[in-house]
Structure formats: structure tokens, C-alpha cells
Symmetry: C2
Subunit: 297 residues, 2 copies
């Protein structure tokens, strides 16, 4: 990663962290552990790539950071809710997340389910709250797009396909692509498009961001599959080698590592090209696309 991109990513991660700190306060009382679990699942970790995409998307349109930071924080809450539920024993049964015990290991299963539910709900609450945007039509549009990205025809649907096809080695590239477009692609798409929605942007600029997001999302997933094969727990802070152990068909098992890597690089380059209408303002989005396929964690 270039020093410029690293510095930009770190600065935004810090801003997102501070926003999340404020939006997810501690609370006393019998339900204190719920609030503690919401904070545990969200604060102090992660690369914050999705919030970064949302912030950069908003910067293309000069959206005030006081607004875009709330959208970015809501996206991270939604992402962390999905990790908490996916890690549960009944789902992927993962003990490790972001280098520490996963939520249900640090608390318990009931608290992990409830904290996930509460984070998802809080994401919508933050999005539709007036401080997020002066135009209620924009807030309602953001919430609608977020719901579509997260629901049965988005992220949850993707996770269902993932569970339902576990152990099936006969999956074709079309099914895997569709699975990933839903499971990880939909929320990335929402993050990349958020600036356009906040700015009432026209169809042309919106389509440019959508094209970028769709290619980036697939490149991101292919890189993730490569990391699961080639990386270590120490590097990623989560379990590795899981896909093969579960007999899961992935881009890597289907294409082989070399073709998957070449394909990921091609998609990343293609993602960057979609951003032409934004000129040099989109350079950081181009840089993150390059980095996504070269990262080691």
C-alpha cells in the first residue's frame, strides 16, 4: 500500500472509530452487557474498508463529513452485525474475529444474537435520523437502499446460499458469483453509491459508481478467497484454510490460485476505469482497488 493511501485509510478509520464511540455508548443497568457487546463487536478493529468507500464516495460530491461519517458508521454497524451472526455456532462457528475471540465467545450466544439484532436496528436508526441529511427524501432513500443491500435479496440471501451450498463442490462460477454479489457485493455497492444518493447525483455518475463497486466487490472476494488459502491467522486475525476444510467451492477452488489472482487484478483495473467521470478526485478509490487485490490481510 502506498504511504498516501495508508495514511488516508488510517485517518478515516480513526474518524469512523470516534463516530462509532459516540453512536454506541455504554449504558448502566441490567442490559449493560448488550451495549458492551455492541461496542465489542464494532470498536477497535477492522480495516474499515466499507466506511472508507462511503466517505470517499461522499467526497466526490463535497458532502459534509458530519453527514457522510454517520452513513459510514451505519455501514460498519451493519457489517459487524453480519460478522457477529455469521460467527455463531449454528452458522460458521468461528472462535476468532479481528484477532480476538468472536462475539459469542467473549459474551455468550444469546448476547451475540441480540447485539447483532441491535446493531442492525441501530444502523437504520442512524441513517434515518435527521442529522444524517437535511433532506428526509435522501434519508428514506438511503434506508431503502441499505435495506435492499442487507436483506433476503442482498447480504442475508447470500449467506443463506453460502450455507445451503456448503460441501457442494459442483457449484459453477455463475452460482459463486451470484452468491458473492449478494453476500459481500451488495453492501460494498451501497457504500460506493452512498455519496451519489446524498448528493442527488444524476444517473451517469451513479452508474459510474455502481460499475466501480461491482467490479471492486468481486475482486475483493477473490482476494479474500486467495487469503484463505495463502495467508496465516497471524496476518488476518481470523481463521484461515476454512473454505478447503469445509469443502467449500470458491473462486480459487474453481479457477485455481493463479487464474483467480489474474482475474482479481483484471477486475480491479476495470473498477478503476469506471471512475473516469470523476477525474483525479477519485484517485483514492482507484488506489484502494489496486490495494484490495495485493493485500496480505
Amino acid at each position: 500500500m502506498s504511504p498516501e493511501l495508508a495514511a488516508a485509510l488510517a485517518a478515516d478509520a480513526e474518524r469512523v472509530e470516534r463516530a462509532l464511540e459516540v453512536l454506541l455508548p455504554e449504558r448502566p443497568g441490567e442490559e449493560a452487557s448488550l451495549f458492551a457487546a455492541m461496542r465489542y463487536a464494532t470498536l477497535g478493529g477492522g480495516k474499515r474498508i466499507r466506511p472508507f468507500l462511503a466517505l470517499e464516495s461522499a467526497r466526490l460530491f463535497d458532502i459534509a463529513e458530519s453527514c457522510s461519517l454517520r452513513v459510514a458508521a451505519a455501514i460498519e454497524m451493519a457489517h459487524c452485525y453480519s460478522l457477529a451472526h455469521d460467527d455463531l455456532p449454528a452458522m460458521d462457528d468461528d472462535d476468532l474475529r479481528r484477532g480476538k475471540p468472536s462475539l459469542h465467545r467473549a459474551f455468550d450466544e444469546a448476547t451475540a444474537i441480540l447485539a447483532g439484532d441491535a446493531l442492525l436496528t441501530r444502523a437504520f436508526e442512524v441513517i434515518v435520523d435527521p442529522p444524517t441529511h437535511g433532506d428526509p427524501g435522501v434519508r428514506a432513500a438511503l434506508a431503502l437502499e441499505l435495506a435492499r443491500a442487507l436483506g433476503a435479496e442482498g447480504m442475508v440471501g447470500g449467506q443463506m446460499i453460502d450455507l445451503a451450498t456448503e460441501g457442494r463442490v459442483d457449484l459453477d462460477i455463475g452460482t459463486i458469483t451470484r452468491l458473492q454479489r449478494l453476500k459481500t457485493g451488495a453492501l460494498i455497492l451501497f457504500a460506493c453509491e452512498a455519496g451519489a444518493t446524498m448528493a442527488h447525483a444524476g444517473q451517469h455518475l451513479r452508474e459510474a459508481l455502481r460499475g466501480y463497486a461491482q467490479d471492486l466487490g468481486l475482486a475483493f472476494q477473490m482476494a479474500d478467497d486467495l487469503l484463505d488459502v495463502e495467508s496465516s491467522v497471524a496476518e488476518t486475525g481470523k481463521a484461515v484454510g476454512k473454505d478447503a476444510a469445509r469443502g467449500k467451492a470458491t473462486f480459487v477452488s474453481l479457477l485455481g490460485a493463479e487464474r483467480a489472482r489474474a482475474q482479481a487484478r483484471l477486475l480491479a483495473a476495470q473498477a478503476a476505469e469506471h471512475l473516469a467521470p470523476f477525474g483525479a478526485r477519485a484517485d483514492r478509490l482507484r488506489a484502494i482497488a489496486r490495494w484490495v487485490v495485493e493485500r496480505r490481510a
Copy 2:
């Protein structure tokens, strides 16, 4: 229940059922079981009291039924998501719901978690979608109020208190009241207030509905606690005697059955009085308050 109220409740339950049928379609593909589980958890059962309250609240202000029915359906989705998650083995571990196997028994735990997540998300999606109201400010306000009712400072917080205090017989009436205001009261409040929000009603009428909802919510819960002690599985379609078996402090264990019944009736009468500003238009809301404390299921 009077024949008039029974007919009104049945007619609205039928309308809500048809709306839910349309809003929760079946889907083919690898994720078909997710959509089937969402339908299983929501369709074909339940008294639909919360949707009824929302529809009646909207009628006070002559809101078009095409709008209020969507809000009512979203409320039922949110209610059914909470039942699906509360029934999970890690939570209340209930095998029976609405006279049939609970969601995780009919499908599996992973599907039950995901279907609950997807129903919650779909509730927000339906609320903020343009067909629900022509004014995006109303849609954003409804979503904000729904999120507050459902989140860590609402329903999920109440469920956390419930789990955290299980087995503690020393709970006082203040803690139980707070628990119930969050766990069941907040969504009932949202349902009762929804008409006022859709109609841009003034503070006076909104406060009347809030007062009604708060008294009704507590009366409803006291009646539920009484049913758990005095009713049968055949009557309620869910497990009974659970509270005592779990050593759970309830209104009944704290006050005794007779005082709890008297208190519930008092609250129901008080609830009805809040509706004075609406005159005879609110007669069905008054009738449901009376019925709630006399019901046998």
C-alpha cells in the same frame, strides 16, 4: 369478545395476511428456504393485535388503507422476527409457537437466525418504500420511531434484561415494569402512534395515543403473565407455565394473580380514557383494551 370486535379483528387479520403474502413472496434458487422460513414465521397465525392497533390508529385520521396496511405488515414482520429469535435454543428455547413447531424446529437454527434478520430488514424496507406514504419525511419518521422501538433502548434491550435477570426472584415491580415497557411496550406504542405520525397529528392527539398505548401495553403483559399461569397449551398454542419453571419474576409472581388481574383491568380502563379526544371513532381501540385483559389465549 363482542361479535363486533371479533369481526373487526378477523377482517383486519385477513387484510394483514394478504398484505404479508404479497410483501413476502416465495423465491426459487439456492436461497428458497430463507424465503420459505420468512413466510412460515409470519403467515397463517397469530391474533395480529399489533397490526390491528396500527390500522385502527390510522383510521382515526382517515389514512388510506393502502398506506396503513404496509405499516401494519411491517410491524407484524418485526414482531415475528422477535419471536423467531427469542425461541432459539440460546434464548428461550421454545419448540412451539402459534400451535406449530417454532421456526428453528421447522427449519434449522441457522435458517431461523437468518430469516429473523431478513424479516427485521424487510420491515424497514417496507416502511421507507415510497408506496407507504407520499411524504418522505413521514417515511423517515416512521422508520426512526420503529428503530427506537425495536433496538437496544427498546425491544432488544427488554429481551436482554429478561435474559439477564432470569432466576432472580428479587426483582422489584419497577424493574419488571421497565423490562416490559421495553420488551413488549415499545412496539405496541409504535403501532398505536403510527396513525398520528402518518397524519402529521399535533402533540395533543399524539399524547392521547401514547397514554393509551402505555397503559394497554402493561395491561397486555399482565394478562400474558396470568395466561402463563392459568391457561393451557391447547388454548394459547405455545408453552405455558414457563415463567414459574424458570423461576422468573413476573407481575403475577410479584403481585399475586388477583392483584395482577385487578391492576390489569384498572390499566385497561385507564387506557380507554386517554382516547376521549377521538370520541366514538376510537370505540374499537377501547373494546380491544377491555378484551386484552379478559382473553383466554
